[in-house]
């Protein structure tokens, strides 16, 4: 209802190799007004026994969201800005289809409340022209929210990529991952 000040010049860039696993993003995410003190971002070790490598995962806001497609209750929608929203609370039946189908492992099912919630890129903030909480606080800027021009200048050796290959399947997303120069896609298999 509030007049949206969504700035579509601003984009979300992720570089997991910069992440220091501090969990600041996770704690800040819970502060986002849409999330009711629950965190929607995922930070974890890949394999602590061998490395301190962590990964961080926000919703990639797919062009064609698998989560929404497999939802039997039509609870997940993508808006005009390309933001894929949390499950509509009145519709979600808590089946977890989206949780299991999202290729990036994003949605979270809250068992008690039979509800799926997910990252909506801090819609309360982004729609008011602010940066999402996680990318604001991230001390390593593994999560970066800014213009394409800014990131190009700041990270001259990397390019943003938003095409993912899972076997034959190609998924395109609104959120970008910073890859070495020359890369056009990320192959996950």
């Amino acid at each position: 209802m509030a007049v949206s000040e969504y700035n579509q010049e601003m984009e979300f860039f992720v570089d997991m190799q910069r992440c220091i696993g501090c969990h600041a993003c996770e704690m800040a995410c819970a502060e986002c007004e849409t999330n009711g003190q629950e965190s929607m971002i995922h930070v974890h070790y890949i394999d602590r026994a061998v490395s301190v490598q962590t990964t961080v995962q926000v919703c990639m806001h797919c062009d064609e969201p698998a989560c929404a497609t497999v939802c039997p209750a039509d609870a997940i929608t993508k808006d005009n800005f390309g933001v894929v929203h949390s499950a509509n609370t009145s519709r979600c039946i808590g089946c977890s289809n989206c949780v299991l189908a999202c290729p990036f492992g994003v949605p979270i099912k809250f068992e008690e409340s039979e509800l799926m919630m997910k990252c909506n890129m801090c819609y309360d903030r982004t729609s008011a022209g602010k940066k999402p909480m996680c990318a604001t606080v991230c001390p390593s800027q593994a999560l970066y929210y800014g213009t394409r021009e800014e990131i190009r200048k700041r990270r001259p050796e990397s390019v943003p990529v938003n095409t993912f290959k899972f076997g034959e399947l190609e998924v395109k997303t609104k959120v970008k991952i910073m890859m070495p120069k020359g890369a056009t896609k990320i192959i996950v298999d």
Partner: protein, 351 residues
Amino acid sequence: MYRLVKTLNRQALVNATVSIFVVIAIVIAGSRNLQNFDAALVAYLFGTVFAVFGIAYRYSVWLQRPPTRLYWYRSWQFLFSKNFIPYALRSLKLFLRNILLQRFIYPRGKLRWFGHLMLAVGCVLAFAITIPLTFGWIHFTLDPNSISTYNAHFFGFVVTSFELGTPIAVITFHALVWCSVIVTIGAVIMLRRRLTDGGLIATQTFEGDWLPLFLLIAISVTGIGITYDYTFLQGRTHQFMSVTHAITVILFLIWLPFGKFFHIFQRLAQLGANIYKVEGMKRGMAVCPHTKEEFASITHIEDLKNVSKKLGFDFSLKNGGSHLDLSPEGKRSALAKAHYKARKESGKFFG
């Protein structure tokens, strides 16, 4: 959704048509060939029939979507299995807990739960009263042998009688007023949340979230208005009150299949999802190759592979496995590893 409605759906049309005939049939049966039908309520009846048509239509369309169909099919399959009794009991329990008492909303917020419960209880009670009235199933007559005893008829049979002025009479004749009050309390609580919760403020829409509340309040207020009118104004504004009330109710009925209120009918699927989960667990859990932990039932994963493939998401990998075999954490790790590998191969972590 709208995309689906645009081109009318054959199957759904058939289902919807059948269901209105069913409605008409039970109206005729219940009102003893319209003998007991209250002509003043005919507008409501039309509204209801339209709503039934819309709901049946939309429900049918909804059920045709592969994931929904799968759940629908699996729910009945698992329910009518050799475990019928435990599952039926379980469903009954969950029906009481989550559909009637809506306990699943409680963890999302106490006040929120209370507000919603008020809305739901008020609406359901109101339906329970008005639909039989509209359909002519229930009507009241003055006992021929008395000037103050009323007989209540159901399907034409006298089921009870009571004295005018007794509590039961007050409750019966004012039941709708009580419903209105309850609904209004609920709606006000929910409105307040929508005004003060930053998250809701950011994501709500007028037609999706505010309009339904306004509509409920309008119905309640005009409904209370009718009673107010004949209690305090000697029916002077009866015409106005009953017309505005009728308009709001009919709007509500017409909108029922399309707007937010459709969730009332979708909500039942939650019971199916629960049986699906329980039976799935019984049949065996899938273990994530990355985390080495159980994360979902094998049935669920396999069903999902099929369903998503039908919907254009084929997650099969070159090695013969599927990306869906990984748990959410496994999937995130797979992406991180792929990224790590790409960075490593480039010889540089930063840039």
